[in-house]
Symmetry: C2
Protein backbone atom coordinates (compact mmCIF):
# COMPACT_ATOMS: atom_id res chain seq x y z
CA UNK A 1 0.00 0.00 0.00
CA UNK A 2 1.93 2.98 -1.31
CA UNK A 3 -0.04 5.65 0.55
CA UNK A 4 -0.22 3.97 3.92
CA UNK A 5 1.90 6.60 5.63
CA UNK A 6 3.70 8.53 2.92
CA UNK A 7 1.09 11.26 2.62
CA UNK A 8 0.16 11.86 6.22
CA UNK A 9 1.21 15.45 6.85
CA UNK A 10 3.76 16.18 9.52
CA UNK A 11 1.70 18.21 11.95
CA UNK A 12 4.41 18.80 14.52
CA UNK A 13 4.70 22.55 13.77
CA UNK A 14 1.22 23.44 15.06
CA UNK A 15 -1.84 23.58 12.78
CA UNK A 16 -0.24 23.03 9.39
CA UNK A 17 -2.07 23.88 6.20
CA UNK A 18 -3.97 20.92 4.79
CA UNK A 19 -3.31 19.82 1.22
CA UNK A 20 -6.66 21.24 0.13
CA UNK A 21 -5.89 24.63 1.70
CA UNK A 22 -2.62 24.66 -0.21
CA UNK A 23 -4.46 23.95 -3.47
CA UNK A 24 -6.76 26.93 -2.84
CA UNK A 25 -3.80 29.16 -2.03
CA UNK A 26 -1.94 28.05 -5.17
CA UNK A 27 -4.97 28.89 -7.31
CA UNK A 28 -5.26 32.32 -5.69
CA UNK A 29 -1.67 33.03 -6.69
CA UNK A 30 -1.88 31.55 -10.16
CA UNK A 31 -5.32 32.80 -11.12
CA UNK A 32 -6.18 35.88 -9.03
CA UNK A 33 -9.04 36.55 -11.46
CA UNK A 34 -10.94 33.48 -10.18
CA UNK A 35 -12.55 32.62 -6.83
CA UNK A 36 -11.30 29.13 -5.96
CA UNK A 37 -13.10 28.93 -2.60
CA UNK A 38 -15.45 26.05 -3.62
CA UNK A 39 -12.38 23.83 -3.86
CA UNK A 40 -11.97 24.05 -0.10
CA UNK A 41 -15.30 22.24 0.16
CA UNK A 42 -15.48 19.90 -2.84
CA UNK A 43 -11.80 18.98 -2.61
CA UNK A 44 -12.38 17.82 0.93
CA UNK A 45 -15.45 15.83 -0.03
CA UNK A 46 -13.33 14.10 -2.65
CA UNK A 47 -10.47 13.32 -0.28
CA UNK A 48 -12.70 12.16 2.58
CA UNK A 49 -14.47 9.83 0.17
CA UNK A 50 -11.17 8.33 -1.07
CA UNK A 51 -9.80 7.88 2.47
CA UNK A 52 -13.05 6.31 3.61
CA UNK A 53 -13.25 3.92 0.65
CA UNK A 54 -9.68 2.75 1.24
CA UNK A 55 -10.41 1.91 4.89
CA UNK A 56 -13.71 0.12 4.37
CA UNK A 57 -12.33 -1.84 1.42
CA UNK A 58 -9.80 -3.35 3.78
CA UNK A 59 -12.51 -4.13 6.35
CA UNK A 60 -14.67 -5.93 3.77
CA UNK A 61 -11.77 -8.10 2.59
CA UNK A 62 -12.08 -10.16 5.77
CA UNK A 63 -15.48 -11.31 4.47
CA UNK A 64 -14.47 -11.85 0.84
CA UNK A 65 -16.45 -8.73 -0.11
CA UNK A 66 -15.74 -5.34 -1.65
CA UNK A 67 -17.69 -2.08 -1.27
CA UNK A 68 -19.80 -2.92 -4.34
CA UNK A 69 -20.91 -6.37 -3.20
CA UNK A 70 -21.39 -5.22 0.39
CA UNK A 71 -23.62 -2.42 -0.88
CA UNK A 72 -26.00 -4.84 -2.60
CA UNK A 73 -26.11 -7.35 0.26
CA UNK A 74 -26.75 -4.51 2.73
CA UNK A 75 -29.61 -3.15 0.61
CA UNK A 76 -31.25 -6.59 0.52
CA UNK A 77 -30.69 -7.13 4.25
CA UNK A 78 -32.09 -3.82 5.45
CA UNK A 79 -35.16 -4.28 3.21
CA UNK A 80 -36.24 -7.01 5.66
CA UNK A 81 -37.54 -10.53 5.02
CA UNK A 82 -37.65 -12.07 2.47
CA UNK A 83 -34.53 -9.98 1.64
CA UNK A 84 -35.57 -9.49 -1.97
CA UNK A 85 -35.36 -6.53 -4.36
CA UNK A 86 -35.51 -5.94 -8.11
CA UNK A 87 -32.59 -4.69 -10.18
CA UNK A 88 -34.29 -1.36 -10.75
CA UNK A 89 -34.80 -0.85 -7.01
CA UNK A 90 -31.18 -1.74 -6.29
CA UNK A 91 -29.93 0.61 -9.01
CA UNK A 92 -31.96 3.49 -7.56
CA UNK A 93 -30.70 2.93 -3.98
CA UNK A 94 -27.07 2.69 -5.10
CA UNK A 95 -27.21 5.47 -7.73
CA UNK A 96 -25.87 2.96 -10.23
CA UNK A 97 -26.57 2.16 -13.89
CA UNK A 98 -28.65 -0.92 -14.68
CA UNK A 99 -25.62 -2.55 -16.32
CA UNK A 100 -23.61 -1.94 -13.17
CA UNK A 101 -26.23 -3.72 -11.09
CA UNK A 102 -26.30 -6.67 -13.50
CA UNK A 103 -22.53 -6.94 -13.08
CA UNK A 104 -22.72 -6.86 -9.28
CA UNK A 105 -25.53 -9.41 -9.20
CA UNK A 106 -23.60 -11.76 -11.55
CA UNK A 107 -20.69 -11.82 -9.09
CA UNK A 108 -22.91 -12.33 -6.04
CA UNK A 109 -24.87 -15.11 -7.76
CA UNK A 110 -21.61 -16.88 -8.72
CA UNK A 111 -20.53 -16.62 -5.08
CA UNK A 112 -23.80 -18.20 -3.96
CA UNK A 113 -24.81 -15.16 -1.88
CA UNK A 114 -27.97 -14.30 -3.84
CA UNK A 115 -30.37 -16.08 -6.18
CA UNK A 116 -32.31 -14.56 -9.05
CA UNK A 117 -36.02 -15.23 -9.31
CA UNK A 118 -38.07 -14.23 -12.33
CA UNK A 119 -41.34 -12.51 -11.41
CA UNK A 120 -44.39 -14.56 -12.41
CA UNK A 121 -46.75 -11.57 -12.75
CA UNK A 122 -44.40 -9.34 -14.79
CA UNK A 123 -41.90 -11.49 -16.60
CA UNK A 124 -39.56 -8.57 -17.32
CA UNK A 125 -38.72 -8.30 -13.63
CA UNK A 126 -36.03 -10.31 -11.85
CA UNK A 127 -35.95 -10.43 -8.05
CA UNK A 128 -32.63 -10.91 -6.31
CA UNK A 129 -32.82 -12.53 -2.91
CA UNK A 130 -30.26 -13.32 -0.21
CA UNK A 131 -29.43 -17.01 0.15
CA UNK A 132 -29.02 -18.32 3.72
CA UNK A 133 -25.25 -17.98 3.15
CA UNK A 134 -25.68 -14.39 1.96
CA UNK A 135 -27.83 -13.52 4.96
CA UNK A 136 -25.35 -15.02 7.41
CA UNK A 137 -22.45 -13.22 5.75
CA UNK A 138 -24.04 -9.75 5.60
CA UNK A 139 -25.20 -10.08 9.22
CA UNK A 140 -21.59 -10.60 10.25
CA UNK A 141 -20.19 -8.00 7.86
CA UNK A 142 -22.56 -5.18 8.83
CA UNK A 143 -21.58 -5.56 12.50
CA UNK A 144 -17.86 -5.35 11.66
CA UNK A 145 -18.51 -2.47 9.26
CA UNK A 146 -20.38 -0.40 11.85
CA UNK A 147 -17.71 -1.10 14.46
CA UNK A 148 -15.17 0.13 11.94
CA UNK A 149 -17.17 3.28 11.14
CA UNK A 150 -17.50 4.10 14.84
CA UNK A 151 -13.72 3.78 15.06
CA UNK A 152 -13.28 6.18 12.13
CA UNK A 153 -15.48 8.70 13.96
CA UNK A 154 -13.55 8.51 17.24
CA UNK A 155 -11.99 11.93 16.54
CA UNK A 156 -15.33 13.66 15.82
CA UNK A 157 -17.73 14.37 18.66
CA UNK A 158 -21.41 13.49 18.31
CA UNK A 159 -22.65 17.05 17.90
CA UNK A 160 -20.17 17.70 15.08
CA UNK A 161 -21.12 14.44 13.39
CA UNK A 162 -24.81 15.36 13.49
CA UNK A 163 -24.11 18.81 12.12
CA UNK A 164 -21.85 17.41 9.41
CA UNK A 165 -24.60 15.02 8.31
CA UNK A 166 -27.13 17.86 8.21
CA UNK A 167 -24.83 20.11 6.19
CA UNK A 168 -24.02 17.31 3.75
CA UNK A 169 -27.73 16.80 3.21
CA UNK A 170 -28.08 20.51 2.46
CA UNK A 171 -25.18 20.22 0.01
CA UNK A 172 -26.72 17.22 -1.77
CA UNK A 173 -30.00 19.11 -2.07
CA UNK A 174 -28.16 22.12 -3.49
CA UNK A 175 -26.34 19.97 -6.06
CA UNK A 176 -29.59 18.32 -7.13
CA UNK A 177 -31.33 21.68 -7.40
CA UNK A 178 -28.50 23.10 -9.54
CA UNK A 179 -28.48 20.09 -11.89
CA UNK A 180 -30.61 22.23 -14.26
Amino acid sequence: MAHQDADVPDDSAGSALSDVDRFVQQWREQRPDLDPSPIALFGRVHRVYLRYQAVITKCFEDFGLNPASFDVLAALRRAGAPYRMTGTELAAESLLSSAGITFRLDKLEQAGLITRIRDTQDRRVVHSQLTPEGLALIDEAIAAHLDNEHRLLAGVDDADADQLAALLQRLEDSILAARQ
Copy 2:
Protein backbone atom coordinates in the same frame (compact mmCIF):
# COMPACT_ATOMS: atom_id res chain seq x y z
CA MET B 1 -28.92 9.54 -18.22
CA ALA B 2 -31.12 7.10 -16.33
CA HIS B 3 -31.02 8.91 -13.00
CA GLN B 4 -31.53 12.41 -14.28
CA ASP B 5 -34.82 12.86 -12.49
CA ALA B 6 -36.02 9.43 -11.47
CA ASP B 7 -34.43 9.53 -8.04
CA VAL B 8 -35.15 13.07 -6.96
CA PRO B 9 -37.41 12.69 -3.94
CA ASP B 10 -40.85 14.22 -4.02
CA ASP B 11 -40.57 16.79 -1.25
CA SER B 12 -44.07 18.21 -1.58
CA ALA B 13 -45.24 16.82 1.80
CA GLY B 14 -42.91 18.99 3.88
CA SER B 15 -39.47 17.79 5.01
CA ALA B 16 -39.53 14.21 3.75
CA LEU B 17 -37.05 11.66 5.03
CA SER B 18 -33.94 11.46 2.87
CA ASP B 19 -32.86 8.11 1.44
CA VAL B 20 -30.00 7.93 3.91
CA ASP B 21 -32.32 8.57 6.87
CA ARG B 22 -34.51 5.74 5.62
CA PHE B 23 -31.49 3.41 5.48
CA VAL B 24 -30.66 4.22 9.11
CA GLN B 25 -34.25 3.63 10.15
CA GLN B 26 -34.40 0.30 8.31
CA TRP B 27 -31.24 -0.88 10.04
CA ARG B 28 -32.68 0.13 13.44
CA GLU B 29 -35.70 -2.07 12.76
CA GLN B 30 -33.78 -4.98 11.28
CA ARG B 31 -30.82 -5.01 13.65
CA PRO B 32 -31.81 -3.31 16.93
CA ASP B 33 -28.64 -4.76 18.47
CA LEU B 34 -26.47 -2.43 16.36
CA ASP B 35 -25.98 1.36 16.29
CA PRO B 36 -26.28 2.38 12.61
CA SER B 37 -25.84 6.12 13.26
CA PRO B 38 -22.51 6.43 11.37
CA ILE B 39 -24.39 5.60 8.17
CA ALA B 40 -26.17 8.95 8.42
CA LEU B 41 -22.76 10.57 7.95
CA PHE B 42 -20.77 8.23 5.68
CA GLY B 43 -23.78 7.42 3.53
CA ARG B 44 -24.18 11.12 2.82
CA VAL B 45 -20.49 11.54 2.03
CA HIS B 46 -20.85 8.73 -0.48
CA ARG B 47 -23.97 10.16 -2.12
CA VAL B 48 -22.67 13.73 -2.26
CA TYR B 49 -19.50 12.45 -3.91
CA LEU B 50 -21.46 10.50 -6.55
CA ARG B 51 -23.80 13.44 -7.29
CA TYR B 52 -20.84 15.81 -7.52
CA GLN B 53 -18.85 13.52 -9.82
CA ALA B 54 -21.82 13.13 -12.16
CA VAL B 55 -22.23 16.90 -12.51
CA ILE B 56 -18.57 17.79 -13.01
CA THR B 57 -18.09 14.93 -15.48
CA LYS B 58 -20.69 16.58 -17.68
CA CYS B 59 -18.98 19.98 -17.31
CA PHE B 60 -15.58 18.59 -18.33
CA GLU B 61 -17.01 16.92 -21.44
CA ASP B 62 -17.23 20.33 -23.07
CA PHE B 63 -13.41 20.44 -23.00
CA GLY B 64 -12.79 16.82 -24.03
CA LEU B 65 -11.72 16.04 -20.47
CA ASN B 66 -12.87 13.80 -17.65
CA PRO B 67 -12.34 14.21 -13.89
CA ALA B 68 -9.12 12.17 -14.06
CA SER B 69 -7.45 14.18 -16.81
CA PHE B 70 -8.70 17.48 -15.39
CA ASP B 71 -7.20 16.54 -12.02
CA VAL B 72 -3.72 16.11 -13.51
CA LEU B 73 -3.85 19.25 -15.66
CA ALA B 74 -5.08 21.26 -12.66
CA ALA B 75 -2.24 19.96 -10.47
CA LEU B 76 0.31 21.01 -13.09
CA ARG B 77 -1.35 24.40 -13.62
CA ARG B 78 -1.61 25.39 -9.97
CA ALA B 79 2.03 24.37 -9.39
CA GLY B 80 2.95 27.46 -11.43
CA ALA B 81 5.45 27.89 -14.29
CA PRO B 82 6.97 25.84 -15.80
CA TYR B 83 3.86 23.69 -15.02
CA ARG B 84 5.92 20.59 -14.37
CA MET B 85 5.65 17.78 -11.79
CA THR B 86 6.98 14.24 -11.39
CA GLY B 87 4.77 11.16 -11.36
CA THR B 88 5.41 10.60 -7.69
CA GLU B 89 4.33 14.14 -6.83
CA LEU B 90 1.18 13.81 -8.93
CA ALA B 91 0.32 10.46 -7.34
CA ALA B 92 0.64 11.95 -3.84
CA GLU B 93 -1.57 14.97 -4.64
CA SER B 94 -4.26 12.81 -6.22
CA LEU B 95 -4.10 9.92 -3.71
CA LEU B 96 -3.53 7.60 -6.66
CA SER B 97 -1.35 4.55 -7.36
CA SER B 98 1.73 4.97 -9.55
CA ALA B 99 0.15 2.80 -12.22
CA GLY B 100 -2.93 5.00 -12.18
CA ILE B 101 -0.79 8.09 -12.80
CA THR B 102 1.07 6.37 -15.65
CA PHE B 103 -2.29 5.61 -17.25
CA ARG B 104 -3.52 9.19 -16.90
CA LEU B 105 -0.28 10.61 -18.27
CA ASP B 106 -0.36 8.22 -21.26
CA LYS B 107 -3.77 9.58 -22.24
CA LEU B 108 -2.77 13.21 -21.76
CA GLU B 109 0.43 12.73 -23.74
CA GLN B 110 -1.50 11.10 -26.59
CA ALA B 111 -3.85 14.09 -26.55
CA GLY B 112 -0.88 16.47 -26.80
CA LEU B 113 -1.72 18.20 -23.51
CA ILE B 114 1.47 17.23 -21.68
CA THR B 115 4.99 16.15 -22.60
CA ARG B 116 7.24 13.83 -20.61
CA ILE B 117 10.81 14.93 -19.94
CA ARG B 118 13.38 12.59 -18.43
CA ASP B 119 15.37 14.21 -15.61
CA THR B 120 19.06 14.64 -16.49
CA GLN B 121 20.30 14.52 -12.88
CA ASP B 122 18.28 11.50 -11.74
CA ARG B 123 17.41 9.40 -14.76
CA ARG B 124 14.70 7.45 -12.89
CA VAL B 125 12.55 10.57 -12.73
CA VAL B 126 10.17 11.71 -15.48
CA HIS B 127 8.77 15.24 -15.40
CA SER B 128 5.36 15.85 -16.95
CA GLN B 129 4.82 19.36 -18.23
CA LEU B 130 1.87 21.19 -19.75
CA THR B 131 2.18 21.89 -23.46
CA PRO B 132 0.96 25.30 -24.66
CA GLU B 133 -2.24 23.50 -25.73
CA GLY B 134 -2.57 21.90 -22.30
CA LEU B 135 -2.07 25.23 -20.57
CA ALA B 136 -4.63 26.98 -22.74
CA LEU B 137 -7.15 24.18 -22.19
CA ILE B 138 -6.83 23.97 -18.40
CA ASP B 139 -7.02 27.76 -18.11
CA GLU B 140 -10.37 27.65 -19.84
CA ALA B 141 -11.57 24.52 -18.05
CA ILE B 142 -10.75 25.71 -14.51
CA ALA B 143 -12.80 28.87 -15.07
CA ALA B 144 -15.81 26.86 -16.24
CA HIS B 145 -15.32 24.34 -13.45
CA LEU B 146 -15.28 26.99 -10.72
CA ASP B 147 -18.33 28.68 -12.22
CA ASN B 148 -20.03 25.31 -12.10
CA GLU B 149 -19.01 24.67 -8.50
CA HIS B 150 -20.34 28.06 -7.44
CA ARG B 151 -23.60 27.11 -9.09
CA LEU B 152 -23.70 23.82 -7.16
CA LEU B 153 -23.26 25.81 -3.93
CA ALA B 154 -26.05 28.26 -4.65
CA GLY B 155 -28.28 26.53 -2.06
CA VAL B 156 -25.65 26.64 0.73
CA ASP B 157 -24.83 29.94 2.40
CA ASP B 158 -21.20 30.95 2.87
CA ALA B 159 -21.09 30.36 6.62
CA ASP B 160 -22.45 26.82 6.20
CA ALA B 161 -19.96 26.11 3.42
CA ASP B 162 -17.06 27.23 5.61
CA GLN B 163 -18.27 25.15 8.51
CA LEU B 164 -18.84 22.14 6.28
CA ALA B 165 -15.26 22.41 4.98
CA ALA B 166 -13.91 22.64 8.53
CA LEU B 167 -15.94 19.63 9.70
CA LEU B 168 -14.85 17.58 6.69
CA GLN B 169 -11.24 18.36 7.53
CA ARG B 170 -11.86 17.12 11.08
CA LEU B 171 -13.42 13.96 9.64
CA GLU B 172 -10.46 13.32 7.32
CA ASP B 173 -8.09 13.76 10.25
CA SER B 174 -10.15 11.34 12.32
CA ILE B 175 -10.13 8.73 9.56
CA LEU B 176 -6.36 9.07 9.13
CA ALA B 177 -5.82 8.79 12.89
CA ALA B 178 -7.98 5.63 13.08
CA ARG B 179 -6.18 4.00 10.15
CA GLN B 180 -3.81 2.39 12.72
